[in-house]
């Protein structure tokens, strides 16, 4: 059963497979890198989807005066609760988000009454994006050098030139 609440995860799978397939099947080195990037992007999407709490806003702390010192704790607890709620839910059902939300809503009611999406996946994915960029940059510079050395960026032609040498 395809339910809309799992749309993200279907997107993840599609992107992952598209990226992986491109990576393996294409001879052109730049296309391989593009495939790798798509593959990595799918993972980013996956993580961000994990962190989303239905009805939750962006995880940027909104000051509400008398919760000064407790805010860190609140954010932390919210994060934990969201996670625990995720544990409670059945893995494949759409209720996951619903139950999570209700569980969080309770906890949230005790804090500043603001629902945040889980910030941790976002943080992790910032790192992953940077890593992806670095990998891409390195990959592309390698492609430039390979082009200088071989005169081509098609893998089969490179192999041919190596075997002939």
């Amino acid at each position: 059963m395809i339910s809309f609440s799992l749309f993200n995860y279907w997107a993840v799978i599609v992107l992952m497979m598209v990226g992986f397939y491109t990576l393996i099947s294409r001879d052109n080195l730049v296309k391989k890198l593009i495939g790798l990037n798509i593959f990595q992007t799918s993972v980013i999407l996956m993580y961000v989807s994990f962190g989303k709490v239905t009805g939750g806003t962006a995880p940027i702390l909104i000051e509400s005066g008398d919760h000064g010192g407790g805010d860190d704790h609140a954010a932390a607890t919210t994060g934990h609760e969201a996670a625990d709620a995720a544990v409670d839910a059945v893995g494949s059902s759409g209720e996951l988000v619903m139950q999570g939300a209700s569980g969080v809503a309770h906890a949230a009611a005790e804090s500043a009454e603001i629902l945040y999406s889980n910030p941790i996946p976002h943080v992790l994915m910032l790192t992953a994006i940077v890593v992806g960029v670095a990998t891409l940059a390195l990959g592309l510079s390698l492609v430039v050098r390979i082009n200088e050395a071989y005169g081509t960026i098609q893998e089969n032609e490179i192999a041919r030139k190596d075997n002939a040498a």
Binding site: K32, F50, A76, A83, V87, L124, T135, L138, G139, A149
Partner: protein
């Protein structure tokens, strides 16, 4: 300062890397690299001593306690692996001075040393961290710097090898991230010890088991790709063959070892031995692959004409030994795997460094070009023979110690078939080592070119490793007690 040693271990090399790059000249950059590596060595040894005396060291980065903060958790295995990486780095950086001048163009030296320091930092980070996403970060730091270093090789195939490694390595790392993500969504935490507690809860509740199983699988594939377990080893032969000599000598002795450590960390600490082996039957996957790796890769090694390539395939076979030990699942078996991390690092480092000496003098590492080198470069070839004896498993060398424990572990479980394969692997090592020895000692050199012995700058680090391969084979007390203690910790950690 010593309180923050776990952090400094990683941070000092990391900070020295941009310094090296900025210094822009070969000599000063090298000094920075030496400083970083030797500091790391001192710190690692200090940490190992402390762990053996006091037990696990827990260090929270920035004072934020786990599981919110990232903690560094150093037990015997971590410290041992850190010592391995740091000591090989310390020796390799000395070796690199002479070797790099010969093989890499002058304007790139500073960047080479910067990449080297980043690699060291990355590997050490993997060894000491207690947070699974942090592992990914350091893994990528070390991998990216490795790709760069490999690409500096002289042959243009170094570029394609680096590219191939980049693609495969990134896929592997991404698989690890997927696995980590799936674990995170089910348990809400990224700390290893926390995960160790929560995974069984999730599993028992029956609701997250499919996700956990999928996470397990992604992690297995990702990690085994990084550690080049057959059949995910395809990046290794090319990468090792075409990289600069100093890089191969260093990497062959460190990067796959740390990935093996990662395997142990995930499957013994995070998932727990009982889960990994009994529920997920990991040993049924790892053991056959390891056995095939030993036999098939040793066989392929025998037929290689390029000695570096030969040694690369030999490395894949040796990784098979390590994984075999782990897959046996007993204290002896895991200890055998751990001690082989050290022993192989020393042996293979020495062998590749010896080949670096050969490359320096004759500009080639093909067997047919090595005729008569036994006479022309006696010290170099003697180093090769010495480390080669260790590969064969002659007693009083480190290679023997690994086999001793591994066969013991196998026989104690009644798996005589495994013991037999380990021995067959040794005999195959004999064949390919003898191949090189025969050409070097029994054939005469053609042509009138006068080949001199390798310079001291290359010989001394090589011989340091050869000496270590005998020293720790004659007195294996320290390494074996660390390995056994580490194995006991790993297997005893049950969530």
């Amino acid at each position: 300062m010593s309180q923050n040693l776990p952090a400094l271990l990683v941070v000092v090399p990391m900070m020295l890397a941009p310094v090296a790059a900025l210094l822009n000249r070969s000599g000063p950059a090298w000094v920075a690299a030496v400083g970083g590596s030797w500091f790391a060595l001192g710190a690692a040894v200090q940490l190992l001593r402390r762990v053996m005396a006091e037990g696990v060291i827990v260090y929270s980065m920035g004072g934020w306690a786990a599981p919110i903060g990232i903690e560094y958790r150093i037990d015997e295995v971590s410290a041992f692996v850190a010592v391995i990486v740091a000591s090989i780095a310390a020796i390799a950086v000395l070796y690199a001075r002479t070797s790099v001048i010969d093989e890499i163009s002058e304007d790139r030296h500073a960047l080479f040393y910067a990449a080297f320091l980043l690699n060291v930092c990355g590997l050490l980070g993997i060894a000491v961290t207690g947070d699974v996403f942090n592992v990914f970060v350091f893994l990528e730091v070390s991998s990216l710097s490795a790709y760069s270093m490999i690409a500096l090789g002289q042959d243009r195939r170094a570029l394609t090898s680096a590219f191939q490694y980049l693609i495969m390595g990134s896929v592997g790392a991404t698989f690890i991230v997927i696995g980590v993500g799936l674990l995170f969504v089910m348990t809400g935490t990224l700390g290893m010890m926390d995960l160790a507690e929560r995974i069984p809860e999730v599993w028992a509740s029956g609701e997250g088991d499919r996700t956990i199983a999928v996470a397990f699988t992604f992690l297995t594939v990702g990690v085994t790709l990084k550690l080049a377990l057959f059949p995910l080893h395809l990046w290794l032969p090319n990468a090792y063959t075409f990289a600069p000599s100093a890089v191969t000598g260093y990497m062959a002795a460190t990067s796959t070892k740390v990935s093996v450590y990662l395997l142990m960390r995930f499957f013994f600490t995070v998932f727990g031995e009982q889960f990994s082996f009994e529920q997920m039957q990991l040993d049924m996957v790892l053991m056959p692959l390891a056995l095939v790796a030993i036999l098939a890769m040793s066989l392929v090694a025998i037929y290689q004409a390029n000695v570096k390539r030969l040694l690369a395939f030999s490395s894949v076979a040796q990784i098979g030994y390590m994984v075999l030990g782990i897959s046996l699942g007993s204290v002896l078996g895991v200890a055998a795997g751990i001690i082989h991390l050290f022993n192989h690092a020393v042996m293979k480092g020495a062998l590749f460094m010896a080949m670096g000496c050969v490359m320096y003098r004759i500009g080639s590492v093909r067997i047919e070009d090595m005729k008569g080198l036994g006479k022309a470069m006696p010290w170099t070839m003697a180093a090769f023979v010495g480390a080669g004896l260790s590969m064969i498993g002659v007693p009083l060398t480190v290679g023997f110690i690994s086999k001793w424990y591994l066969v013991q572990a196998a026989l104690a479980q009644g798996r005589w078939f495994v013991a037999a394969i380990v021995m067959v692997g040794s005999l195959m090592a004999l064949v390919y080592i003898w191949k090189v020895v025969e050409v070097a000692y029994f054939q005469r050199r053609e042509g009138e070119d006068e080949i001199k012995e390798a310079p001291l700058g290359l010989l001394i680090p090589t011989w340091a490793l050869v000496a270590a391969s005998f020293w720790f084979g004659i007195d294996a007390g320290t390494t074996s007690s660390v390995a056994i203690s580490a194995a006991e910790t790993l297997l005893g950690v049950m969530p």
